[in-house]
């Protein structure tokens, strides 16, 4: 009699294990499916990479027409940050006690002397890295990237014509186009890739300096 009861218990235990096994299998399947769906959601766009050629750059009048009304003349050089960094870094050893008043005072002092050399702006500019990061960022869709590249090509073409003397566009208008393009780019980046957006903001003047220097611009052509 007791043997019979024991056998029944064993049977019940076995079934319990079976249902447990199938439950764990279902859990595994669900987990695998979730992982798959997560991977699928992260997969890159199916479209090909944007073409790298400077193909048929036709200037778009729309971009020029929509330019902001406040022309910004090309500032002679470096942004405040690059000019002040050496001065601001000096008092760092005493930073805990003295830093706040000391750091604030050199800023106006650094601005007042003669305009800093363009060399000061160049460390912020690394065109290759910026280009690579722009190509790789997921904040901008592929079609937008191609459209942006078209705009960049158009602007470069305008600069080329400007240096060749084949256009009536002056530097102020080029600056407007440049600002508009920067705004478009930053508006696409600022929400989802803040790091790259801030990098571009900090190298903005350096890029402009690069474009407005005929010798540096000529290196783009090669």
């Amino acid at each position: 009699m007791t043997n019979l009861i024991k056998r029944k218990r064993r049977k019940n235990g076995g079934r319990g294990k079976e249902t447990l096994m199938s439950a764990s299998r279902i859990c595994l399947v669900v987990a695998a499916a979730l992982a798959l769906s997560a991977c699928a959601a992260r997969r890159p766009n199916r479209l090909p990479d944007p073409p790298l050629t400077n193909a048929s750059p036709v200037p778009t009048p729309a971009s020029r027409a929509a330019a902001p009304a406040t022309p910004q003349p090309a500032p002679p050089a470096a942004p405040r940050s690059s000019a002040t960094t050496p001065a601001a870094k000096a008092p760092v050893p005493n930073a805990i006690k003295v830093a706040p008043p000391v750091v604030r005072t050199p800023a106006p002092v650094a601005r007042s002397p003669q305009p800093p050399a363009p060399v000061a702006a160049s460390p912020a500019l690394d065109l290759n890295t910026l280009t690579k990061q722009l190509k790789e960022t997921k904040a901008i869709g592929l079609f937008s990237k191609i459209a942006l590249k078209n705009k960049v090509d158009d602007l470069l073409d305008e600069f080329r014509k400007y240096y060749q003397g084949n256009t009536k566009i002056n530097l102020t208008e080029l600056r407007q186009s440049f600002n508009l393009l920067m705004m478009k780019l930053l508006s696409l980046l600022q929400d989802e890739d803040k790091t790259l957006a801030s990098k571009i903001v900090s190298s903005r003047e350096a890029i402009w300096d690069f474009l407005t220097d005929p010798k540096k611009f000529a290196t783009l052509e090669t």
Binding site: A41, V58, F143, A147
Partner: protein, 85 residues
């Protein structure tokens, strides 16, 4: 044998269940991309609400403000946005 079939059925069912949302994510990304492209060209749209793929890299787009566009990549590698009726 039955267990294997059951397991296979379960996994296929789960895969099908999660495949639909992933397509939806792709679709949303495309809409966002096309919205940005139209805005980059300075054309009114607001937001892309429907996209119909006409060919590879060729889309018919309907906007929230009832504007309709054809967005495509031409042979020269330029993104063209054309207003359609």
């Amino acid at each position: 044998m039955n267990k294997r079939i059951m397991a296979l059925t379960q996994s296929l069912f789960m895969a099908a269940l999660f495949a639909v949302p992933s397509f939806a994510v792709d679709d949303e990304a495309l809409k966002k991309d096309l919205t940005a492209v139209i805005a980059l060209q300075g054309l009114p749209c607001g937001e892309v609400v429907a996209v119909k793929t006409q060919a590879e890299n060729d889309y018919a787009v309907s906007c929230k403000d009832k504007n309709k566009y054809r967005v495509y990549l031409n042979a020269a590698g330029r993104v063209i946005v054309e207003k359609s009726k």
